[in-house]
């Protein structure tokens, strides 16, 4: 800032334009210094502690994905007092304070860090450790951002002896309409969940009919209609179907899964009416609970329809040879889960057996496949397939931060021991 004040001193001789520029630079520098302040760093770190504690406690009431969305990847959030006190106190949900979300705090920390180094940057042995450490921290923040923005995950479930080449996103459903008229190849039209709200009408140039969404259940249960309607009273009310499986089975909405009660997956169902112009073809019940597609014909063409989790197709195929679920002898405690699969990728001339088990995922073509779960009767495996372009960042970041910190603290104690006490007052070395 010495420099700036010098310019201001000679201001009488320079034009007002230059003067304004100098003022501008002064303001920028002042702002930069404010952004670089260690007080801001400490305040932001303290705020992250509050946010993380609130986000942890909130998981007693909401699923982890809701919490991540509301607290850690949001610009702001309402932190409710009832999180911090016993339920029996009956504090209302309305008692809450507005708080910056994880996104805001993360971006501010990032700005604070970059500004601090911009203002105080000086390359010296004393500072190398700090610079390397903070570079690592920036990578860590960037890694979390990349994961939030670009990572993709889904489940691939395979029965023993069968194969699969797609993953399902269990948080999103789609309505698949399959034109099966041509026996050699199917045409699949997938309608995303965003369009499947109550009262929506779906038209598609490749479809010979319209689809009206009569009702949409974000989470549902199925019950068989047996004989009359005397069983479950809920079954006698609400929508009914006159086509397909829905004539015998009814779907009814239930509360959304919270993640705490053990069932973390919403299983949607819907009632849709097919219309050929003004002519009503019939109403069908579709549900993710139902495995097989329901077939029907319209105008000489044969179709099949299914509500299913959103599928993403992969360029490779996995065939499950054997799934093993070992228990410790005499207990129900799992010892190991493993899937022996055959990885098939003609494009890359790959055809080999791979063992996927706990802590030993398969990494292939940017995807990582983990042993995640299994079918209830051990007849098949469920693999978690993750595509995260930023997966390597935390590894690099960890190395940078730890070596930076070790160097920094190590250098300080080494130089102290050598008698040359570290000089105080250079930037971050504020006080004793």
């Amino acid at each position: 800032m010495t420099q700036i004040s010098t310019e201001a001193d000679v201001g009488s001789r320079v034009s007002t334009e230059e003067h304004a520029r100098a003022r501008g630079r002064f303001i920028v520098m002042a702002a930069l210094h404010a952004l670089a302040s260690l007080r801001l760093t400490v305040a932001l770190l303290a705020m992250s502690m509050v946010l993380i504690l609130a986000g942890t406690l909130a998981q007693m009431h909401d699923g982890v994905w809701t919490v991540v969305h509301e607290y850690f990847r949001s610009t702001h959030t309402w932190i409710r007092l009832r999180l911090f006190v016993p339920d029996s106190w009956g504090v209302s949900d309305r008692v809450a304070i507005l708080f910056p979300g994880g996104l805001t705090i993360g971006v501010l920390l990032f700005v604070n860090l970059v500004a601090a180094h911009a203002v105080r940057f000086k390359l010296s042995a004393k500072r190398v450790g700090i610079i390397v450490t903070h570079l690592g921290v920036i990578l860590l923040l960037a890694g979390e951002f990349v994961t939030g923005a670009f990572a993709d995950e889904g489940n691939m479930s395979i029965d023993e002896g069968k194969s699969s080449n797609f993953v399902e996103d269990i948080r999103t459903a789609e309505l698949a309409v399959i034109d099966k008229t041509d026996p050699t190849s199917d045409i699949v039209i997938a309608i995303p969940m965003a369009q499947l709200h109550e009262g929506a009408t779906i038209r598609h140039p490749m479809l010979g009919f319209e689809i009206h969404v009569d009702s949409w259940m974000a989470n549902s249960t199925l019950a068989a209609v047996t004989g009359g309607m005397d069983g479950d009273p809920r079954l006698s009310m609400g929508p009914t179907a006159d086509m397909g499986i829905g004539r015998n089975v009814r779907a009814r909405g239930v509360a959304r899964a919270t993640g705490v009660d053990g069932s973390t997956v919403d299983v949607p169902s819907a009632y849709v009416t097919l219309m050929d112009g003004d002519r009503r073809l019939g109403t069908m019940m579709v549900s993710v609970h139902l495995e097989p597609e329901q077939s029907f014909g319209v105008g000489g063409k044969s179709y099949a329809m299914a509500l299913r989790f959103k599928r993403t197709y992969k360029p490779y195929t996995l065939e499950l040879i054997d799934f093993k679920h070992d228990l410790y002898v005499g207990t129900n405690r799992p010892k190991n889960f493993s899937s022996l699969v055959r990885l098939i990728d003609p494009e890359h001339h790959v055809n080999r057996e791979v063992m996927i088990r706990m802590n030993e995922p398969l990494r292939y073509r940017g995807d990582t496949l983990y042993q995640a779960s299994f079918k209830s009767d051990n007849s098949g495996t469920v693999l978690q397939v993750v595509r995260n372009p930023g997966w390597l960042l935390p590894y690099v970041s960890c190395g940078l931060v730890v070596s930076g910190m070790l160097f920094h603290f190590g250098y300080r104690s080494w130089s102290k021991r050598r008698g040359g006490a570290v000089r105080r007052g250079d930037g971050m070395e504020g006080t004793r």
Binding site: M49, V64, E144, Q384, P394
Partner: protein
């Protein structure tokens, strides 16, 4: 004799006496009055909870789960019993007479008044207050308990009230008791032939199957026990032990080693030595402070004795930890129990380094206080059963257990150590004149150094955890309670460092935040485990909540004490005068 030379030998002599007494307590009697070699019986390998272990361990953990103790103390005319004796008696009970005796042992700890009321149990008898009851007292009302269990099971785990949890807990313990009595647990019959698995005695007991050597040996042992024939019991147990050593050499050797470990109880002994160490070091500090001379001879002797004593406790604890690592074939931290043992252990070398800086015994005192209290915590955590339980599939990775878990636990250790040193700084500064001279500078330096170390370790450990998560389920950071807890520890350490670098806090501020670090660490260590209340941990968890709240409140109290303006701190009152006169802080 020269007094000074004698005094130099006092620390060594004290430690030798202590070591001998510890070693002698580790040895047990070989054969009892009836001529039974219970050591041979206890060493026999059985299988339970998914691992092969000596009968001794099975008996101890079963008894511990039921009664909170590893043996039955004498009560009235009933003599004391070891866990193995109790389990063998329960299994041997055949005719009405022996059965009556077996089920009258008071093994079920029942504290909850409503539960006592359910069974109509008396709160005291001629021998005094009662908390433990026998199956014979519970029997009449077991059908009613079954009803209560059914009702409690209909309620989701998180909504169960205290009574329901207690009923379910007692039900589990009664089930375990009955399983032992009916030969369903442990899996006693060894796989002597290839292709066999461990089986319960009830499966091979029938006249149709009961042919193999293992079954025969068990029958013979149990029969001779109920016949009171100690000599035969001992002979068969020794022979069967030989058979096991021949057929399953690994398991049999591990079993007898584990019995030695159980009896040596290194952690209980280490805890006792820590108490002596703390007392000696405290006395040393007291003598030094009262005499006002930093080179007080007796103060020095006591301080060194304390230091040596911590060294002995550390040695005993190290032996215990190494033994666990060898027995389990796992890195030292595998569950909450072992994390408690390890946290205290890892503090000791760090505290020694601090002691080298401060040289007044504060490092020794803090090391022994942390060492002792973490062992007490571990002891209570161990009450839920076998502390060397088999690992869940996802945790079954020695590499990550050895890196992430160990490093993050050292991070916990260092954060606790900084917090306890900070407590010493605040309490000594406010209430005593001890915090002056060199100590006024060296202690804060020590705290700062430990915080730096804690930052590196907790960050490294936390990120390693993320990398493990990335390896095992593809998510580096999932924001789950345990991960968040670890992040909070990193953050509090970062706040201390940055606030110090920015000149926002000095010695007192660092101390206050370091004490707050104790609350944060306790939260990450235990608080997060209480959020998802586990099925088997009610008894522990509900009492743990009390202790953690008490711990947190005491930390807050210390922080409030630190709010006393520095000029009123006892240690600094005269210090202000000194610096006014001399310009510098003078050593007395």
């Amino acid at each position: 004799m020269n007094m000074g030379r004698l005094m130099r030998w006092i620390p060594l002599m004290l430690v030798v006496v202590m070591a001998v007494s510890v070693a002698s307590r580790m040895r047990g009697p070989a054969v009892d009055a009836d001529g039974v070699d219970w050591n041979a019986v206890g060493s026999l390998a059985v299988s339970a909870e998914g691992r092969t272990k000596p009968l001794d361990t099975f008996a101890r953990s079963a008894l511990l789960r039921m009664s909170g103790r590893q043996s039955l103390p004498a009560r009235g005319e009933q003599p004391s019993m070891t866990a193995v004796q109790w389990v063998m008696e329960l299994m041997a009970a055949g005719d009405a007479e022996t059965q009556k005796r077996a089920i009258s042992r008071e093994v079920f700890r029942i504290d909850h008044p409503d539960l006592r009321a359910l069974f109509g149990l008396p709160e005291s008898d001629v021998h005094g207050r009662r908390t433990r009851y026998a199956l014979s007292e519970l029997m009449a009302r077991l059908p009613e308990m079954a009803n209560q269990v059914d009702m409690a099971k209909a309620v989701p785990a998180k909504q169960q009230d205290m009574f329901q949890r207690q009923v379910l807990g007692l039900n589990d313990r009664v089930m375990l008791y009955l399983a032992i009595a009916q030969w369903e647990a442990p899996l006693a019959v060894a796989p002597l032939a290839s292709g066999q698995e461990w089986r319960p005695l009830v499966m091979t007991a029938g006249p149709m199957v009961g042919g193999d050597a293992s079954t025969k040996a068990w029958h013979s042992m149990l029969e001779s026990l109920s016949a009171g024939d100690g000599a035969t019991l001992t002979r068969v147990a020794r022979e069967y032990g030989e058979t096991l050593r021949g057929a399953l050499p690994g398991a049999a050797r591990a079993s007898s080693n584990e019995v030695v470990f159980n009896r040596a109880a290194p952690f209980v002994n280490a805890a006792a030595v820590y108490v002596f160490a703390a007392v000696l070091a405290l006395l040393g500090l007291l003598v030094t402070t009262v005499s006002g001379k930093s080179d007080s001879a007796w103060g020095g002797v006591l301080r060194r004795s304390g230091l040596w004593m911590v060294g002995l406790a550390f040695l005993v604890q190290t032996i215990g930890l190494v033994a666990r690592v060898v027995l389990q074939g796992r890195p030292p931290v595998t569950n909450l129990y072992s994390s408690a043992v390890f946290i205290g252990w890892a503090c000791v070398p760090l505290a020694f380094m601090v002691e080298r800086m401060v040289r007044v015994g504060i490092g020794t005192i803090v090391a022994s206080v942390i060492g002792f209290s973490t062992l007490i915590v571990a002891h209570n955590l161990g009450a839920s059963g076998d502390t060397m339980e088999a690992m869940q599939a996802v945790l079954d990775s020695n590499f990550w257990l050895a890196t992430h878990v160990v490093v993050v636990t050292i991070g916990y250790s260092a954060t606790f150590l900084a917090g306890f040193l900070a407590m010493a700084y605040i309490l000594l500064g406010v209430f005593t004149p001890a915090l002056r001279g060199d100590l006024k500078k060296t202690l804060p330096k020590g705290i700062y150094g430990v915080v730096c170390f804690a930052t590196v370790m907790s960050f490294f450990g936390t990120v390693l955890g993320g990398i493990w998560a990335d390896q095992s389920w593809g998510r580096f950071w999932g924001w789950d309670p345990k991960e968040n807890g670890a992040a909070l520890i990193v953050l509090i350490n970062l706040i201390i460092l940055h606030a110090r670098w920015g000149g926002m806090i000095k010695e007192r501020g660092i101390a206050v935040l370091a004490v707050f670090g104790n609350i944060v660490t306790a939260w990450s260590w235990f608080g997060t485990n209480m959020l998802g209340v586990g099925l088997h941990s009610y008894g522990f968890i509900s009492s743990a909540v009390f202790w953690i709240v008490a711990f947190d409140l005491s930390m807050v109290a210390v922080m409030l004490v630190a709010a006393v303006p520095v000029r009123h701190w006892r240690s600094f009152r005269e210090g202000v005068l000194e610096s006014r006169v001399g310009g510098a802080v003078a050593t007395a």
